[in-house]
């Protein structure tokens, strides 16, 4: 894709992961894509070979969120639940999140902010964990897809710092 934005991932504090990404669309559309289950199911499932099998979302304050990802080849599932804390269409979504088989302590709070400028939308998502240990455990989550150390990637990373 020619206009594919760059995903920037940072760890702004020792309890947080944040990322920003620009989308070539007005924020109403991005907001819809993040909140409507029929749209979420079409994109939010990571690498090919996975799907978002269950997506039940009640986007009102106190409403419940439920996502289950499934690996199509062997049926492996990964579920996540949460509760909506704040919703301001089309600019702000705050919710708790917790994986079912949680391998990290406590619950996380995800804050999504959408800012539109000239028809493009910048998404910033910040996820705050209860502790640094929890955050670090998420970074080595099972989302990983057969990751081999990859010195070429390392090189790219170093080049991006230079």
């Amino acid at each position: 894709m020619t206009n594919a934005g760059t995903l920037n991932i940072t760890t702004p504090t020792d309890r947080e992961i944040a990322f920003t990404r620009v989308f070539d669309a007005p924020r109403e559309l991005v907001f819809d894509a993040f909140t409507k289950p029929e749209l979420l199911k079409r994109w939010m499932f990571g690498p090919d070979g996975w799907s978002l099998a269950v997506c039940e979302v009640d986007w009102q304050v106190g409403g419940k969120l439920r996502y289950v990802w499934r690996r199509d080849s062997n049926g492996t599932e990964m579920g996540m639940g949460g509760v909506v804390l704040e919703i301001v269409p089309p600019e702000r979504l705050v919710a708790t999140e917790k994986f079912d088989e949680s391998w990290y302590p406590g619950e996380a709070v995800s804050t999504i902010v959408l800012v539109e400028d000239g028809g493009k939308t910048t998404l910033t998502q910040t996820i705050r964990y209860e502790s640094r240990e929890a955050r670090d455990a998420v970074l080595r989550s099972p989302m990983e897809e057969g990751v081999a150390a990859g010195y070429d990637r390392l090189e790219k990373l170093l080049a991006s710092w230079a």
């Binding site: 289950p37 670090d136 989302m143 390392l154 990373l157």
Partner: protein
């Protein structure tokens, strides 16, 4: 040879890696070492800071197992130790892969939504 202070089985070692990487000067030092080993003097050159300050950064990097120092008493050249760095990167990389793959699909979906949006404008406040 195992760089001193680096124990891959210790749960704390990634903390040390991330802490060492949190500083821009240290990241610049690592980027420089990616193209080959260098002495403290050579490393200090591009930075507007003193040699003792560079030495301090090198100690942090060495403790985190990110670099090792040669035995040559005069130069003690610094060398990049790729393993802990690759490991730290791997974690972030798994996370990145998930979202990059997802967002690329979202790009395509948004294009589709944009073209559909023109004839029939969606009503405001009609959201789930």
């Amino acid at each position: 040879m195992q760089p001193s202070g680096y124990d891959p089985n210790s749960p704390g070692h990634l903390d040390a890696t991330f802490a060492a990487l949190a500083d821009p000067t240290r990241r610049a030092i690592l980027a420089r070492l990616a193209s080959g080993e260098a002495s403290v003097l050579e490393l200090a050159e591009p930075f507007a800071i003193s040699q003792p300050a560079i030495s301090k950064h090198l100690k942090v990097l060495e403790r985190a197992g990110l670099i090792s120092r040669g035995r040559d008493a005069q130069r003690r050249p610094c060398r990049l130790e790729a393993r802990p760095l690759a490991e730290a990167n791997e974690w972030l990389e798994g996370y990145r892969q998930f979202w990059e793959a997802s967002f690329q699909r979202l790009d395509a979906l948004l294009e589709e939504m944009k073209s559909q949006k023109k004839p029939q404008r969606t009503k405001r406040g009609d959201r789930r």
